[in-house]
């Protein structure tokens, strides 16, 4: 058992992207404490002007992701004892996204890329028609199931070095969503998805470094999904079903 220090020494990135600075806070350490608890303590007890984002506090909504000691994490499910054995925490806004203020990032580029990847449902039936039954044991469904627990937290996007080097790259989350739809028998626009992920910012830019899979808090593997998209786009191009 490591002894809990009495105080945590926390640095928080404050300000906007154009004018950012690090501020230091001493926060009382608790035996059972998440990084989000620490940020909330600073906002409630030390500086009410601190901006950050959270909602559910139980790892479902995906809104509280931040950089913690240089690593993207969901702060509501990250215990301080797991990441700051020496009592030091460095908290910053998510990487690869514009900062609005303090720890709140602008998620627009992240979600715009979901739309650009055609990572939204294209229905095969209207609401007045019968339900389209899904076979739970089909290989396509099993493949889609591997990726559908994404909570859109942006951690994979912040972890991805290809996004950092190539701002046009659609990123792991959007591409994984496109892959789950490609494997969904209820999605009607397979050619549209394949075309959307084959452009200049598409799946072929992935270098398979695996940071997305490494840091995904839900244990998903977007790299596997992207490899699947590469395979399917190449197959489709070789079959001549779309303009290569």
């Amino acid at each position: 058992m490591t002894r809990t220090p009495e105080m945590l020494h926390v640095t928080v990135q404050r300000g906007t992207a154009q004018d950012s600075r690090k501020e230091r806070y001493d926060v009382p350490a608790r035996e059972n404490q998440t990084v989000l608890d620490v940020v909330s303590w600073i906002q409630q007890e030390a500086d009410p002007t601190l901006s950050y984002r959270f909602a559910c506090r139980v790892g479902m909504c995906g809104s509280c992701a931040m950089m913690v000691n240089g690593v993207p994490r969901w702060t509501c499910r990250t215990h301080v004892s797991r990441v700051a054995g020496d009592g030091r925490l460095d908290i910053a806004p998510l990487r690869n996204l514009p900062v609005i203020k303090d720890l709140a990032t602008d998620m627009d580029p992240f979600f715009d890329k979901w739309v650009a990847a055609e990572a939204h449902h294209h229905p095969t039936r209207g609401r007045l028609e019968e339900f389209d039954p899904i076979k739970p044991d089909s290989p396509e469904r099993a493949e889609a199931n591997l990726g559908i627990e994404c909570i859109n937290c942006g951690i994979c996007y912040a972890a991805c070095d290809t996004v950092a080097g190539n701002p046009d790259y659609l990123g792991p989350a959007a591409l994984q969503r496109a892959w789950t739809l490609l494997n969904d028998s209820r999605d009607a626009d397979r050619p549209g998805i394949l075309a959307a992920v084959s452009g200049r910012g598409g799946c072929h830019n992935c270098h398979s470094m695996g940071s997305c899979a490494q840091y995904c808090p839900n244990g998903l593997n977007p790299m596997r999904a992207i490899a699947g998209l590469k395979r399917e786009t190449v197959k489709a191009a070789l079959r001549g079903k779309r303009d290569a």
């Binding site: 790259y169 200049r200 190449v234």
Partner: protein, 110 residues
């Protein structure tokens, strides 16, 4: 920066290069082990369509593969884009083709 067409060009050129690299290494080891002189090597390669095709294909594959690889690095690390990136890609490809084929012609033309 890497669309499907460039991705496939790079993968296919790698596919072509793999056996040619092994062949090239085997040739080098054979030439050195046997103690072949320059004249003996040129005597076998000059006028040989087979060696021209072997190394000509190698040069083509290398030029395509390396140009696309450098394109990605230049974009991600040097932030090159647009015309500059296109010039670098095609320039690298053209330079490797020129250097490679001048060497191939030198050893295979009769």
């Amino acid at each position: 920066m890497l669309d499907l067409r460039l991705y496939m060009a790079q993968r296919l050129s790698a596919l072509v290069m793999a056996p040619l690299v092994l062949g090239h290494i085997a040739v080098m080891i054979y030439a050195i082990q046997g103690g072949l002189s320059t004249a003996e090597i040129l005597g076998r390669t000059q006028g040989s369509l087979l060696w021209f095709l072997f190394y000509g294909t190698f040069v083509l594959a290398v030029s395509v593969h390396a140009a696309i690889g450098l394109r990605v690095i230049a974009h991600e690390w040097l932030r090159l884009r647009g015309t500059a990136l296109g010039l670098l890609t095609w320039g690298t490809c053209a330079a490797l083709l020129a250097l490679g084929f001048s060497a191939v012609f030198a050893v295979t033309l009769p």
